[in-house]
């Protein structure tokens, strides 16, 4: 190879090398057998290595070679990193086992759970590392300030398990809750800005959650292949209904049965027109069902409101005078409602008589409305309590000045300054601290919800399975096949429960930094418990309904919940003034004042000016308007793309029809022009070939030979080879241009090309086979 190449040759060589590199990177996506791929790979590698060196010339050769080597190392590193990432993913074997037993829809719940676990780990890292640890290590220790000390009155039972389980006592006055944090601007030798960090972590958790959810939704939407309006129901049932992950024969049998049922159902639906009789009865029943459901929802909302107000009354009277039930009424009621109302909805939906998939969607929608209603009623009741506490603060502030004055009473004159009397922090009266109260309520709710879920799991699934299994020996009817039988895994109910729990975490995380940690623990335990329960007590579902695009459906719900959960938190941050004596924002008039403070004191002056310009309404409003216009523009372009898509599809159909016709025409021409040669060819072909000529073609040849219809009739007695029914082209009865379809037969015939030849058809004399024909007589 000559050392010096002309520039054009160099260019060409570079192109070739680039092409080879591209080939190497796309090799794995080619449907070739491995041998071929290996050979191509080795060849291309050789080529690239041989000529890559020649590409860099002169001084830059060393640099070029270095670049190439770095690129190779980078690719290897990337591959190793991918391998490492896949190995790091936890619970892979568990999920694979569940997939093979139950199919991919049940496994999708566990994959979702694992994904949630990942998100909560990140949230936990943020709150633990940037909020809890700095305050614990560098902030003032326990007992140094009133907000960090258990009040004297409660000290006696601050360590009781009952009090701790309720998150009072020592648990309340710790880094777990908002009230413990000091409002000092910078703490420790690092000068860590505690209030700023608290605020930013709160905002950051929400922002991170939004980003992750929207990114996953976008990825799912891409995989969906762009929503086409065409739904290929039957084809999808045919080609995509089998779940290749199933490895268990029992599950496979279930799947066969479910597929057969779905085929039969779909055929039936397609065949019968919607029977219009009893449409009024059906409509009336559906309206009745919806009315009942609304009553249920309203009833549950009112019940929660009533119970929360009652618990406020109890709190005012002092909690000790009431029984355990009365103290935990709110949480128990909410959990029980969440458990029993869906069952009620299930029963009511029997009135409606919908197709099972539609009934499932209605059910999911109703459960969603139930949970949402409950949550918001709870929040409204909580708001009332907050307002009460805020008003109480004013009164308490007044009381404090009186109490302080009483301390100095008798030791001072009116105007002299005296040394401050040291009072133990436990004795100082403190404000109501509504933020800690809010945090506590959410934590209690999560704990009771978790307990209810686990207990339901143990009783509803495990105990039931044990009873069915062992009572079956001495029971009159077959328990396993008949009434109770084993429970199925309720994918949608579980996913909804998971989503709503996450919503509660998002709502309360600002006021109780311990919530993400609690949730991580909860999800961890849930994973193991539910994996065990599913394998041990559940049977595979009989009717498998994968709501198509269900992935994005759950993501969309998660996004809605995220939005709705952050609303109350944002509202409280923006409108309600923080408590005067607890938390990192004590003393400020609004919580977000910390940003202003930081800008003024920690950043140079010009930064503050720039920021104030940027947050000017005169700038923000036009920006919002621009975004709205951009959204409108993008939506209209996407609509026009969809339209263009449909047009192209129609064109494709017409073009392929034309091509079909042209091909048949060419075939015909070929046979008519090539005369005997082609016949001989046909004969040899047919002698060796197992599948005979398509019926249409052989008939065409006959017609061309014979020339007029009389001969056709005459020859109709000839036995044509037994052929598989030729695919009748649809629309063959339409007029087809150069073709003319004679009435009474489907096959196109050429006009005007009839030659007056007289031939006779007989069995092939070459092989004596009655399967095809060859003409024996030649015209003189």
């Amino acid at each position: 190879k000559p050392e010096v190449l002309s520039p054009e040759e160099l260019e060409k060589l570079k192109e070739e090398v680039d092409e080879r590199k591209k080939l190497i990177s796309t090799l794995r996506g080619k449907p070739w057998p491995m041998r071929k791929k290996l050979l191509t790979l080795r060849e291309s590698h050789e080529f690239v290595e041989k000529y890559e060196g020649a590409l860099g010339k002169g001084k830059s050769r060393k640099l070029y070679a270095y670049k190439v080597m770095m690129l190779k190392k980078w690719m290897k590193f990337q591959r190793d990193f991918e391998n490492f990432k896949t190995a790091c993913v936890p619970w892979e074997m568990k999920i694979k086992e569940i997939e093979s037993h139950f199919g991919s829809s049940v496994a999708s719940y566990f994959i979702f759970l694992r994904w949630m676990y990942g998100i909560n780990m990140i949230l936990f890292g943020l709150t633990f590392g940037l909020v809890m640890v700095p305050e614990a290590l560098m902030g003032r220790p326990y007992g140094s300030m009133p907000r960090k000390t258990v009040p004297r009155a409660d000290e006696a039972n601050a360590m009781d398990f009952a009090v701790l389980w309720d998150f009072g006592g020592y648990a309340q006055y710790s880094v777990l809750f908002y009230g413990y944090y000091n409002s000092q601007r910078a703490i420790g030798w690092l000068k860590f800005r505690m209030p700023l960090s608290y605020f930013l972590v709160g905002v950051g958790t929400v922002a991170y959650s939004y980003m992750v959810v929207i990114r996953t939704m976008a990825r799912n939407a891409n995989e969906d292949g762009g929503g086409d309006n065409n739904s290929f129901n039957f084809s999808w049932k045919m080609f995509t209904s089998w779940d290749y992950l199933i490895g268990n024969p029992e599950t496979a049998d279930n799947k066969f049965a479910s597929i057969t049922t779905s085929f039969k159902e779909a055929i039936l639906e397609e065949q019968e027109s919607r029977k219009d009789d009893n449409i009024h009865l059906t409509r009336f029943l559906r309206v009745l069902a919806n009315f009942l459901v609304l009553c249920c929802l309203a009833g549950s909302g009112y019940l929660i409101y009533f119970v929360v107000r009652r618990s406020q009354k109890f709190a005012l009277e002092g909690l000790e005078s009431h029984s355990w039930w009365e103290r935990n009424e709110v949480n128990m009621v909410m959990s029980l409602l969440g458990m029993f109302c869906p069952m009620l909805f299930d029963v009511i939906s029997a009135l409606e008589n919908y197709h099972p998939r539609i009934a499932l969607q209605w059910q999911l929608g109703r459960i969603f409305a139930l949970f949402l209603g409950n949550l918001y009623t709870f929040i409204i009741a909580l708001m009332d309590e907050i307002n009460l506490k805020v008003n109480l603060e004013e009164v308490l502030k007044l009381n404090m000045t009186i109490w302080e004055a009483s301390l100095y009473n008798g030791t001072l004159g009116a105007n002299s300054t005296a040394p401050p009397i040291t009072v133990h922090p436990a004795d100082i009266p403190r404000g109501p601290c509504w933020e800690t109260m809010v945090g506590q309520e959410f934590v209690r709710l999560i704990v009771s919800d978790t307990m209810t879920t686990y207990i339901t799991l143990l009783i509803g699934d495990f105990l039931r399975a044990v009873l069915v299994r062992f009572l079956n020996y001495c029971w009159c009817w077959d328990l396993e096949a008949g009434f109770p039988s084993y429970s199925e895994f309720d994918v949608s109910g579980n996913v909804l429960g998971l989503i709503f729990n996450q919503g509660m975490i998002w709502m309360g995380a600002f006021y109780a930094p311990c919530l993400p940690a609690l949730n991580v623990l909860r999800l961890h335990v849930s994973m193991y418990l539910q994996c065990w329960a599913v394998m041990c007590c559940n049977v595979p579902q009989e009717r498998v309904f994968k709501a198509s695009g269900s992935n994005n459906f759950y993501m969309a719900m998660l996004l809605v919940i995220l939005f709705l959960s952050t609303l109350p938190a944002i509202y409280t941050i923006v409108t309600i003034p923080p408590s005067f004596d607890c938390g990192p924002f004590s003393g400020k008039s609004r919580m977000f004042d910390v940003i202003q403070e930081t800008l003024e004191s920690d950043f140079p002056a010009w930064f503050g000016k720039v920021f104030s310009y940027a947050s000017n309404p005169g700038l923000v409003l036009p920006f919002l308007l621009l975004m709205v216009l951009a959204i409108y523009y993008l939506q209209s372009t996407s609509k026009s793309y969809k339209q263009a898509n449909l047009e192209l599809k129609k064109k494709l159909q017409t073009v392929s029809r034309t091509i079909n016709k042209v091909l048949t025409l060419i075939q015909y021409l070929l046979y008519s022009l090539c005369g005997t040669l082609s016949e001989n060819l046909i004969c040899t072909k047919l002698c060796d070939h197992t599948s005979p000529l398509p019926l249409s073609l052989s008939k065409k040849i006959e017609k061309r030979r014979v020339g007029n219809t009389e001969h056709i009739k005459e020859r109709a007695t000839i036995k044509f080879p037994l052929l598989p029914p030729a695919p009748r082209p649809r629309g063959a009865t339409e007029s087809l241009g150069p073709y003319q379809v004679t009435s009474g037969n489907q096959h196109p015939v050429f006009r005007g090309s009839q030659t007056p030849r007289d031939t006779e058809y007989d069995c092939c004399h070459r092989c004596g086979n009655g399967k095809h024909f060859i003409d024996r007589h030649r015209p003189p």
Binding site: P31, P33, E99, S108, D228, T240, Y244, L245, G247
Partner: protein
């Protein structure tokens, strides 16, 4: 266990990584499972073949109604007996892996469903496909009338050029719109 013949060479391993959608651990696991299927004598020949019956005994394939077709499609044996070498086995796992692209999955799905290997899915192929999906027993099969109706519905939906068969591009068009295909067309060891 420790002989070099039963372990993958490092350069081969990295080449396989480049040519398939599998990670290094998955390839090593596949090699292990493949070696378990080989009989003792076969272990020492350079490119051993596992007969189809042994492949079908894998738990991942045992309950699959298309297991024989899968073996036939991925087999490179001249005798068309469905036996697989290790490279065929890797091809199989790669096409069915999680990270395989839609194009590769739909290509191989088409070949699996093409029972008579003629490059198109005609009525006979579709009928055999439905029979595979509805199981072996008589009470789960469809009647002839239902079958006819089903096949005509399918052809109406998927056959764009209306020639009575579904070819590869029509098949890929239908499959690319399906939300479940990629997640259900998976086999993991």
């Amino acid at each position: 266990m420790g002989t070099t013949a039963s372990q993958l060479r490092k350069d081969l391993l990295s080449e396989y990584q480049e040519l398939t959608f599998l990670t290094k651990q998955e390839i090593i696991l596949a090699h292990k499972r493949f070696s378990e299927l080989l009989s003792k004598e076969d272990r020492n020949i350079p490119t051993p073949r596992v007969p189809m019956e042994k492949v079908l005994s894998l738990p991942e394939l045992k309950s699959n109604p298309f297991r024989k077709r899968i073996c036939h499609v991925f087999s490179t044996s001249d005798m068309k007996d469905g036996s697989l070498t290790f490279e065929d086995f890797l091809d199989l796992l790669s096409a069915f892996s999680d990270s395989a692209t839609l194009e590769i999955k739909s290509h191989y799905a088409f070949r699996i469903f093409d029972f008579d290997d003629d490059g198109t899915l005609d009525g006979g192929d579709l009928e055999k496909l439905v029979n595979c999906l509805t199981g072996e027993t008589d009470d789960t099969r469809l009647t002839t009338e239902e079958m006819r109706q089903l096949i005509s519905n399918i052809l109406e939906e998927s056959d764009i050029d209306k020639d009575g068969t579904v070819n590869l591009s029509e098949f890929q068009h239908v499959i690319s719109r399906s939300p479940d295909f990629v997640s259900s067309f998976k086999i993991v060891l």
